[in-house]
Structure formats: structure tokens, C-alpha cells
């Protein structure tokens, strides 16, 4: 086989070496890593803000920061973590890196649009963070920006916040269009949809949600900015407007947004588990249909966030039932993952530890989610720390654990080197203990009535809050082994070879790191991406 060197494919206009990560590169792998690193920097910023929140909540009084600063901090923390860390990384980073490999293509369908989508993120992020420093006028109405709160708090920061979220929404929509076109239209000849690795299905479902729901948020925020700047009254009750309409439109995006954050994580876990358990993925077809069921149900359950907003009984009934139904496809996926592990030859490396912890954490978050869908219980814990605990079990215990697991799993693909396992396990241990210590007590706090988004609390809650803050400290420390690991192994880590996990999915069937146009020669046709224990081991 003649191996063409990457330079043969080069378009000489594209910069080479590390400089390309700071350029308007059209290579999907470069863009994927740009998303990943950019997102991780924002994760550190958002984490520092979480540190401020947990330090403030160490004691019942607002003595560390003022009440206004506390509100600004939690607003920025939520917005950064959702729009600049989780959504761009779990969609943009891994999606851009992996999807073209999975469909046997050399790049995404629209490489320029792809680069534009990424380069909207850093300016939006800088804009958002800079608004934090507008003295006394940063956005402080939470990541939900509910009116009338967002209309009565200082306008300058709120408008910058809206502008930033609009840019990020645009980036997300462009990315979604690109994924849909790539998966549906750019597959290598002979590759049928039902042969695709599951992450493709997850990204297809996610992108459908992005395309259908993000524009509604954009429209809503434009109306909100009219209310703030031009003093219209769409959402201003004193001018005849209607705040509940804002909530409906906001949650029409922001409930699917949970699936935009979690479905790709489901997909990534479905890639990691079979490889490290050396077994085919259990129930591929049911996995695909479950994803599509979650996409459909995810679009029609938004008002379960609004049970205390004067929703009529028929609406409560419908949204309770529809929400509870989501547990069915999600449950199918969980049992499929467990069945994949069952009797497998499990390698308990860092990637696998994070993935298994994801299953545990997400079951907790999922069960509290079903509980929250029930109207009487929801009314009891609405706007308390129970909701905060539930939410973080989903997006941190769920998605962020998968992001870390995926990092250990695909780092050899990105760099050709393996991450250090000892540091990886230390990272896992600190994250897992810290995470559960931080967020499990919040369920008790919420059940006992501690409201969220308030800088002060009843002194009776002190012990549980301090426990939670200790957990947050452990989570902060846990990033150190990760950072050290990534930097040290990038320089002199163990060489991984092209396929360190003996995987069958297409991205491992080329060199690590891959050549510029992904394949040396034609893309392979992978009809059974999960055929472990059938071909490879039989030969070995």
C-alpha cells in the first residue's frame, strides 16, 4: 500500500503545526480540537465562578460577596457552563472530530460554515465575560433571564448577555445544519444509516433538536431585547404583556437543550463501552429508536418547568404524562448499556471508569427527574436546591463525566499518545467523590426548603452547605491531575500506536493522529462498528 504523506493533500493556504489551531482552519479535526480547548478554558472560568458561589454559601450570611455580585456570579456561571462549555464540547468538539470519520468522509459537509460556527464562540464568550465587569450592571437574572426580573435589573449587562447568547445560538444552529447534512448526505457509498456508529444517531437527533428549538430562543431573546431597549411590552405585565409567554418560548428551547447536552453524551458512551468491554453494543436498533423517541418527546414536555406559573390542570396532566414517558426510552438505553457490560472483558481504565460513573450518576439524576415531573412534588421543591442537585446530576454527573471519559478514550486519536492511567484514576476518584459530595446534599437542602439563587440561608442548613462546598473544592482540585496529565503526556507520553484499544469503529482505522484528509486512500466501509468477539478476537 502506498501511503501518501499528508503534504500531498495540503491546501498550501492553510497554516501548519500548532499555528493552525489559531487560524480559520477548515479541517474538521482542527475545528474539533479548537472547540474542545476553547470549551475547556471556559469550563475553568465557569468553575472559578462556581467556586465563588460555594465559598459564599459556606456561611449563612452574604459575607464573601454582596447579594448583587452573587446573582451576577450565578448568572454567568450557568450561562458559561451551558452555552460555552457543555454544548460546544459535547456537540462541536467530538461531533466535528468524529462524525466525518464515522460517515467515511474527508471533512464536514460545509467546512467554511463549520469554521464560522466555531469562530463565533470566542468573541461571544469574551463579550459575555466582559459584561461581568460592567460595574453594578452585569446580568443578574440567572441563565433563564425570566422577565420581569430581566427587565428590572440593570439593562447594560442583560443586553450584552442577550447578544452573546444570540451569537452562541447562531453558532449552534450552523453546527446542527452541518451535522444533519454530513450524516444524511455525505456518507461513503455503501454505508447505510443502520450501519452508523451510535454517536452519529445521537448527533442526528441532537441536531434536529438544535435546528427546531434554538431559533425559538433566538426570537424570544430578540423580543426581550426590544422590551429592554425600545420599551415595548411583550413580557412586561405593567404594559399589558405576558411573562408566561416568555417562559413557554424559553423552555421550548431550554428543555430540548437538556437533550442537546445529554444525547451526544449517550452517543459517546455507546462508543466507549463496547470497546473497553470487548462486546458488541447490546440492542443497537432499540438504541436508535430510543434516541428518536427522546427527540420527539423532548420537544413536547417543556411546560413541566412551569407547574407553578399558573398552568391549567389539563396542561399539567399532559406535561406530567409526557415527561414521565421519557423514562421509557432512557431506561431502554440504560439496560442496553448494562447488557453491553454484562459478561464483557471489562478494562477498568479511566475512560471506562468515567463512563460507568456516568451510568450511576445519570440514574440518580434521571430518577429525581421523574420525581420532578409529578406536579405535587414539583410544587413542593420548585425553585429549591433539589432542582439544582437534579440538574447537576444530569449535566455534570451525566455529560461532563462523559466528556472526561471521552477525553481519555480519544486522546490517543488526537495526539498519538496515551494519557497517564494513574493520573487519570486520581482525576476520576477526585471528580467522582467531589461531585457526589457537592451535589447529593443539595437534594436534602431542597427537600427542606432551601431556595436557590439566594446568597443567604437559614443557619440550620449550614452543615449540609459546608459539606457541599468541600465537594466543590475537591472538584476544583480534580482538574489539576487532568491538566498535568494532558500537558505532560502531550510532550512525552507513551506512544499509542494507531489503534491502542483494538477498536473497530472507523476513526481508529487510520493513523493516529490522522492525516489531513483523514484516510490514506479511500475510506473503509465499516458495516459492523461493534463486531467485537466476532472478527478481531477470532484472529488474535
Amino acid at each position: 500500500m502506498t501511503l501518501a504523506s499528508p503534504s500531498d493533500f495540503e491546501d498550501n493556504l492553510q497554516p501548519q503545526g500548532w499555528l493552525r489551531y489559531f487560524s480559520f482552519s477548515l479541517d474538521h479535526k482542527v475545528i474539533g480540537l479548537q472547540y474542545l480547548i476553547c470549551g475547556f478554558i471556559f469550563y475553568l472560568v465557569g468553575g472559578a465562578l462556581a467556586g465563588i458561589i460555594r465559598t459564599e454559601l459556606w456561611s449563612p450570611m452574604s459575607d464573601f460577596v454582596s447579594r448583587e455580585t452573587y446573582n451576577e456570579t450565578l448568572t454567568l456561571h450557568g450561562t458559561i457552563m451551558i452555552f460555552l462549555w457543555i454544548v460546544p464540547v459535547v456537540n462541536g468538539a467530538f461531533g466535528n472530530y468524529l462524525i466525518p470519520f464515522y460517515v467515511g468522509a474527508r471533512d464536514m459537509a460545509f467546512p467554511r460554515l463549520n469554521a464560522v460556527a466555531f469562530w463565533l464562540i470566542p468573541p461571544a464568550g469574551i463579550l459575555l465575560i466582559s459584561s461581568y465587569f460592567i460595574a453594578g450592571a452585569a446580568a443578574q437574572s440567572g441563565w433563564t433571564a425570566y422577565p420581569p426580573l430581566s427587565l428590572t435589573t440593570p439593562a447594560a449587562g442583560q443586553v450584552v448577555w442577550i447578544l452573546s447568547v444570540l451569537l452562541l445560538g447562531g453558532s449552534s444552529i450552523f453546527g446542527g445544519i452541518n451535522f444533519i447534512a454530513t450524516i444524511l448526505k455525505l456518507r461513503r457509498p455503501g454505508l447505510k444509516l443502520m450501519m452508523l456508529p451510535l454517536y452519529c444517531w445521537a448527533m442526528l437527533g441532537t441536531s434536529v433538536l438544535v435546528v427546531l428549538s434554538t431559533p425559538v430562543l433566538a426570537g424570544t431573546l430578540i423580543l426581550l431585547s426590544f422590551d429592554i431597549i425600545a420599551h415595548t411590552g411583550f413580557f412586561n405585565p405593567t404594559m399589558g404583556g405576558n411573562v408566561v409567554v416568555y417562559q413557554h418560548l424559553f423552555w421550548f428551547y431550554s428543555h430540548p437543550a437538556v437533550y442537546i447536552m445529554v444525547l451526544p453524551a449517550f452517543g459517546l458512551v455507546s462508543e466507549i463501552l463496547p470497546i473497553h468491554a470487548r462486546k458488541p453494543l447490546f440492542g443497537y436498533t432499540t438504541m436508535v429508536y430510543s434516541i428518536m423517541a427522546i427527540v420527539f418527546l423532548g420537544l413536547i414536555v417543556w411546560a413541566h418547568h412551569m407547574f407553578t406559573s399558573g398552568t391549567p390542570p389539563w396542561m399539567r396532566l399532559f406535561f406530567t404524562i409526557a415527561t414521565s414517558f421519557i423514562a421509557v426510552p432512557t431506561g431502554i438505553k440504560f439496560f442496553n448499556w448494562l447488557a453491553t457490560l454484562w459478561g464483557g472483558k471489562i478494562a477498568l481504565n479511566s475512560a471506562m471508569l468515567f463512563s460507568c460513573a456516568f451510568i450511576v450518576n445519570f440514574v440518580f439524576g434521571g430518577i429525581t427527574g421523574v420525581a420532578l415531573a409529578q406536579v405535587p412534588f414539583d410544587i413542593h421543591v420548585h425553585d429549591t436546591y433539589f432542582v439544582v442537585g437534579h440538574f447537576h446530576y444530569i449535566v455534570y454527573g451525566g455529560t461532563v463525566f462523559v466528556i472526561f471519559g471521552s477525553l481519555y478514550h480519544w486522546y490517543p486519536k488526537f495526539t498519538g499518545r496515551l494519557l497517564n492511567e494513574d493520573l487519570g484514576r486520581l482525576h476520576f476518584l477526585l471528580t467522582f467523590v467531589g461531585f457526589n459530595l457537592c451535589f447529593a446534599p443539595q437534594h436534602w437542602l431542597g427537600l427542606n426548603g432551601m431556595p436557590r439563587r439566594v446568597a443567604e440561608y437559614d443557619p440550620a442548613f449550614t452543615t449540609l452547605n459546608q459539606l457541599s462546598s468541600v465537594g466543590a473544592l475537591l472538584m476544583a482540585i480534580s482538574t489539576l491531575p487532568l491538566l498535568i496529565n494532558v500537558v505532560v503526556t502531550a510532550i512525552n507520553g507513551k506512544k499509542a500506536g494507531d489503534n491502542p484499544w483494538n477498536a473497530l469503529t472507523p476513526e481508529w482505522l487510520t493513523s493516529s493522529p490522522p492525516p489531513v484528509e483523514n484516510w490514506h486512500g479511500e475510506a473503509p466501509l465499516v458495516t459492523e462498528p461493534y463486531g467485537y468477539g466476532q472478527h478481531l478476537e477470532a484472529k488474535a
Binding site: 447534512a181 431559533p215 424570544t220
Partner: protein
Amino acid sequence: MTSTTPLQDSTAIEARQEQAEEAHGDFRLFGLATFLVADGMTFAGFFAAYLTFKAVNPLPEGGIYELELLLPTINTVVLIISSFTFHRAGKECRAGQLGASRLWLGITGALGAIFLAGQMVEYFNLPFGLTDNLFASTFYALTGFHGLHVTLGVICITIVALQTRPGGRISATDHFGLEAAELYWHFVDGIWVVLYGILYLL
């Protein structure tokens, strides 16, 4: 199953890229259609907001305006006709009649401009301003957002018409720009018909 092709020179790369393009066809229109679905959802959000406001938020005394129907109806007819003229332009282009195509594009662009002018006349004659009440705000938000789309469409039509000149980018076989503009224009027309229905007639 997998054959490997050595790629030593640029002609081989180009040949392979052409092969790939043939295998996949042109998916740019598909991408645009996906974007228009997203754009349509923005309008759907606005429509839903407007209808909910109408259903649950009673307007104050004297805040209910009778909208003049003549001008918007003429505008609706103008916009619907422009969809047909654009379709004709596309047909001429595919038949290789670039001159005729340019003429029909010119007519389409002119109809779009007439629509915008009509919109302006309507704005200047309305008895209410942006912040007068909830209906007024929603009216301007909906028609304004749609007007923005029409403006963008007229700009696109102008560009495409210029590209059909002899030696321009568009030819009988290579006319993605024209098709994209056409798809977009039909979308903008379709949105207007819905908007006209719920804003003026309902």
C-alpha cells in the same frame, strides 16, 4: 472491498474530489432547506407568541385598531406573483436562456421592491407606533422581521441577476446561487401568506 489509490499529484486529487462530488450530489440546497426550517421556527415562535397574546391578553379600551386591508392585500398578490416570476426565471436559466432569465429576475426584484415600498406606505399611515400597546409591538415585530427577510431577498435577487450577465458565475449547468435564492424567496412568500392570514384576517 477497500482499494487504495496512491495520490501523488494534484490532478489525481482533483479527479478524486470530482468523483466524491458525483457520488454525493449537491447537498448545498439541502443545507439551505435545513436552515430555512430553523428560520421558519423563529417565525413559528413569533406566531405562537402573537396568537397567545391575542387569546389571553385583552387590549385596553381604544387599543383595538381596524387594519386597512387594501394595501396589504395588494402586497400579498404582488408577493405571490413574484414567486411565479422567479420560478420562470429559474426555468429560463435551466433552458440556457440567460437573457430571459435576467429579465424575469429583474421583474421579481422589482415586485419585491414594490412590496417593501407598500410596507413603508402602510407603516407611515398606521395610527399606532411600536410601543403603543401589545398588539402594536407584535405587529411591528412580525412585519418588520418579515420585511428584513424580503430586503435580504431583494439583495440576493440583485446579486443573482448580475451573475447571469454573459461571463457571470451563473450558467445553464451551474446555477446554485439562483436556485438557492429561489428557494429562499418561496420561503419568504410562504411565511407572508401565513402572516397575512393571522395578522390581518384572523
